[in-house]
């Protein structure tokens, strides 16, 4: 790694290679794909939050002309419990299977219970209405409070609380208890001059990707299946379809389409295995496209939470103790991101005495899935809101309070290890110096700040770089491009090869064309797949130098690669050798050893954490309770911004989603546990007209383990906004909002009660 290095391409802002296709509508997304003879699949979903499935009769549906096949849970193999990778986390394939198709019980409103394939989508829809399902409706639980209460209805009779010693032998909805901490909590609080204690709740929210899940599956007589789908992880889809259907991985090929947003939500499977199974039964291709309503009811949102926080500090602001209790909804199957929430919430600060207790709780709602820094935003909302109250009690500037406690290189993270080079202090200093913090506020306006931390991931990546015969290059990776990674990878190849980035064509390949790749997630692609591209490009450069050495009749050490050409050095430059350009060497490749290409597969190590500080100004309408964000600044450490425009876009997008989480978004259920707002009309996400231009500041503290110093940037920006907005509303109104969302009726009620 060299932070002194001068870059020619890294750090520039070229137009993305896929840009024209995207803005002209030529790009092919999941639902765009069709095949001759294709059937249309539809999924029947439970209308009940919790019900025993007494019987399912698909015969009336199959009797309808045009209906070719129907499946239920009885058609799915009963597979053994086995952990696998999905996105940044682990999943149990047996539970994924039961999530994509219910067996004995339906566990949430929207849980699939049957599926059909017919010649038209209208016939398939009609067929669903003819399937007869007899349910025995059971009492349900929708919140962690309900699920953890004594005598609560139990979702899974076999579930026991892991993390307790001994593990109790009573059925429970609490899948796991975790605890992290160190020091002497009681002594820490005893030492404090000020103590604050608050409780917070957040609601289940959806990633809100604009493109619904879509898949076409084709299965042949040779037992092979091909799957076209929109996904963040084609290799994940392949593994899950294989596991869930009892097939060898080699029997399935997954071809990823362009993707219209994922944010973590497309790192697992929903309709993909059903389409494969239907196509294998029908012997014809089957297409399933989820409706928006199905996406809300039947895909994986983010956890609703209840969190308690207690902080103690000396009069000078130094934190002496931090305690938290977190309970996260996992949805219908275990596996909420409560661990990440617990580890992230105080990570920006050095605290000696800490105890954090977390609970993973199943409820009768959709199984949660990753959503941008999974688990961290609610936890940071609680921690950063409490810190804001502490600053008020201490009479300290909130930035100064954070600077007093900020972690730096060598600080011990609250979850254990020591940080390497990090940029927490630098983002706070950038905030302190930003004009935003000095700007005057108007009537009914307030300002809040908050910080955020995310680990970032490395994981497994494969990539290849091939030199074309005219000296241009092709970069192949297996990571779908959800944030501009194609062009970022091309920039890194261009940097190493010394050619124009527009002469590098970046391609996202299918699962049979490139080696294994973990999913696009964990803010890992530019970091990890980028390392594979850099390594491959350096191998190509080595080969080019070898070819030049061969042509000149000199040693490899006498050839230098500079700005896209081979130059003679170390004595070779004393003769009359002319530089050999990459184009010349490419054209001569056939006569000097054949095609020039390189592939790299690696497990990327050394992902550098990313810290952010956000500043938010709001104006609160005392008549209506509407909160308007009037100014917003997102400051974050990128390590090295490979394409600053995309980095800024990540900061802005994360901030926009976090603002929506803070102000309006929530799953609303009725008393029967049926989702009441499964559409964008009633599930209110921010649109462009709701938001100001979000200013960004890219801080660059290089990650010492990456060749260019890169850190992941995609997830951290969604962490601070929840608290930044809440702290701004507190500043504007004098009211602390501990419950999200701060929607107009909620805000108005609290203001009226002042």
């Amino acid at each position: 790694m060299s932070d002194e290095r001068k870059y020619r391409w890294v750090g520039t802002r070229p137009i993305r290679h896929d840009g024209v296709d995207k803005v002209t509508g030529r790009a092919n997304f999941g639902a765009d794909f069709s095949l001759p003879g294709m059937l249309h699949g539809k999924v029947l979903r439970s209308p009940h939050a919790h019900a025993r499935i007494v019987s399912i009769d698909v015969a009336p549906a199959l009797a309808l002309e045009g209906v070719k096949v129907a499946i239920t849970g009885a058609d799915m193999p009963d597979i053994a419990s086995e952990m696998g990778t999905a996105g940044e986390g682990q999943v149990d394939y047996a539970e994924v299977s039961r999530n994509v198709m219910a067996r004995e019980k339906a566990l949430y409103d929207g849980h699939p219970v049957a599926a059909v394939a017919a010649t038209t989508s209208e016939i398939a829809e009609e067929a669903l209405s003819r399937i007869v399902v007899e349910y025995e409706v059971l009492p349900h639980v929708l919140t962690v409070d309900e699920a953890m209460a004594p005598g609560a209805p139990i979702l899974h009779d076999h579930l026991r609380t892991a993390g307790l010693d001994p593990v109790p032998d009573e059925p429970t909805n609490v899948a796991q208890r975790i605890e992290i901490g160190r020091g002497d909590l009681a002594a820490g609080f005893a030492e404090a001059d000020e103590i604050v204690e608050h409780e917070f709740t957040t609601q289940m929210v959806h990633q809100g990707y604009i493109e619904p899940h879509a898949v076409v599956a084709r299965s042949g007589e040779d037992d092979q299946s091909v799957v076209w789908c929109c996904t963040q992880g084609p290799f994940t889809v392949r593994a899950m379809c294989a596991k869930l259907l009892g097939l060898d991985v080699s029997k399935i090929k997954v071809i990823p389409s362009e993707i219209g947003g994922g944010f973590g939500g497309k790192t697992t499977v929903y309709v993909e295995p059903l389409a494969v199974l239907l196509s294998r039964k029908a012997g014809r291709p089957v297409k399933i496209v989820m409706s928006r309503q199905e996406v809300f009811r039947g895909s994986g949102p983010a956890s609703g939470t209840r969190i308690r926080v207690k902080l103690g500090a000396k009069a000078d602001g130094r934190l002496t103790a931090a305690e938290a209790w977190l309970a996260y909804e996992a949805g219908a199957f275990k596996g909420s991101p409560v661990v990440a929430g617990a580890m992230c919430m105080f990570a920006p600060y050095a605290v000696e005495n800490v105890k954090i207790e977390g609970y993973d709780v199943v409820v009768n709602k959709p199984k949660v899935n990753a959503y941008r820094a999974p688990g961290a935003p609610p936890a940071a909302f609680a921690a950063e809101s409490a810190l804001d109250e502490l600053a008020r009690k201490l009479g300290m500037d909130p930035v100064e309070l954070r600077l007093v406690n900020a972690v730096k290189e060598g600080s011990q993270a609250i979850y254990g290890p020591k940080f390497r080079a990090i940029g927490m202090v630098e983002t706070l200093q950038a905030a302190r110096e930003h004009p935003h913090l000095k700007a005057k506020l108007g009537p009914n306006q307030g300002r809040g700040i908050a910080t955020g931390f995310w680990f970032n991931a490395g994981m497994q990546s494969s990539a290849s770089v091939s030199l074309n015969e005219d000296g241009t290059a092709t970069v192949v990776s297996g990571c779908p491009d959800i944030g501009g990674s194609r062009t970022s990878l091309a920039l890194m190849a261009a940097e190493e090869l010394g050619i124009d980035v527009q002469k590098v064509r970046p391609v996202v390949a299918d699962t049979e064309t490139i080696g294994y790749n973990d999913a696009t997630g964990g803010s890992r692609v530019t970091f990890a797949t980028g390392m594979a591209v850099i390594e491959s490009a350096r191998d190509v450069v080595r080969q080019l130098r070898e070819r030049a050495a061969s042509i000149w009749g000199v040693e490899l050490e006498q050839v230098e690669w500079n700005d896209g050409q081979a130059l003679p050095i170390n004595g070779a430059d004393e003769g009359e050798l002319e530089p050999l350009s990459i184009g010349t060497l490419a054209r001569r490749a056939a006569r000097t050893g054949g095609p020039i290409s390189a592939s790299t597969s690696l497990t990327a190590r050394g992902a550098g954490p990313s810290f952010a500080t956000h500043i938010c100004d709001v104006e609160v309408d005392p008549e209506t309770g509407v909160v308007q964000v009037v100014r917003y600044t997102a400051i974050q450490d990128a390590g090295k911004a490979v394409h600053p425009g995309y980095v800024e876009g990540q900061y802005q997008g994360g901030a926009a989603q976090g603002i929506g989480w803070a102000l309006n978004e929530e799953y609303v259920y009725d008393e029967k546990g049926v989702l009441q707002n499964p559409g964008f009309l009633d599930y209110r996400m921010p649109v462009a007209s709701d938001l100001p231009m979000i200013d960004t500041v890219i801080v660059e503290v290089p990650n010492p383990t990456h060749p260019y110093g890169v850190r992941g940037v995609g997830e951290t920006p969604i962490i601070p906004p929840l608290a930044a907005v809440a702290n701004a509303v507190r500043d504007a109104t004098g009211v602390r909002f501990g419950d999200l969302p701060m929607s107009p009726p909620t805000v108005l009620a609290r203001l009226d009660a002042r």
Binding site: R103, H156, D157, D165, E179, G181, G416, P417
Partner: protein
């Protein structure tokens, strides 16, 4: 010798001991040595916990080398899904 630091959650398996020095060349050997000293802890830290060696979190670290003066922490797996009935075979709900 490497230093192993236990979080408060793991200290109930160590009788409240927060730090120990262990002579091991890799994580597998380190866990075996810890299990000898604190019987039962091997199963807890060896089944699904991530390992941080000198500040770097490593998800699947069994074969990872441990530097002689390294600092080792065991962390809960960051992703969800590892709790509850992990390791059990398919269950009827």
């Amino acid at each position: 010798m490497a230093t192993v630091v236990f979080s408060s959650g793991l200290q109930r398996y160590t009788g409240g001991v927060e730090r120990v020095n262990v002579d091991a060349t890799d994580v597998r050997g380190l866990i075996a040595a810890l299990d000898t000293r604190f019987p039962g802890i091997g199963q807890v830290i060896g089944s699904g916990m991530a390992v941080a060696i000198d500040g770097e979190i490593i998800p699947d670290a069994m074969l990872e080398a441990v530097p002689p003066d390294g600092e080792v922490h065991f962390l809960p797996p960051i992703g969800g899904g590892a709790g509850g009935d992990r390791g059990r075979t398919a269950q009827r709900t």
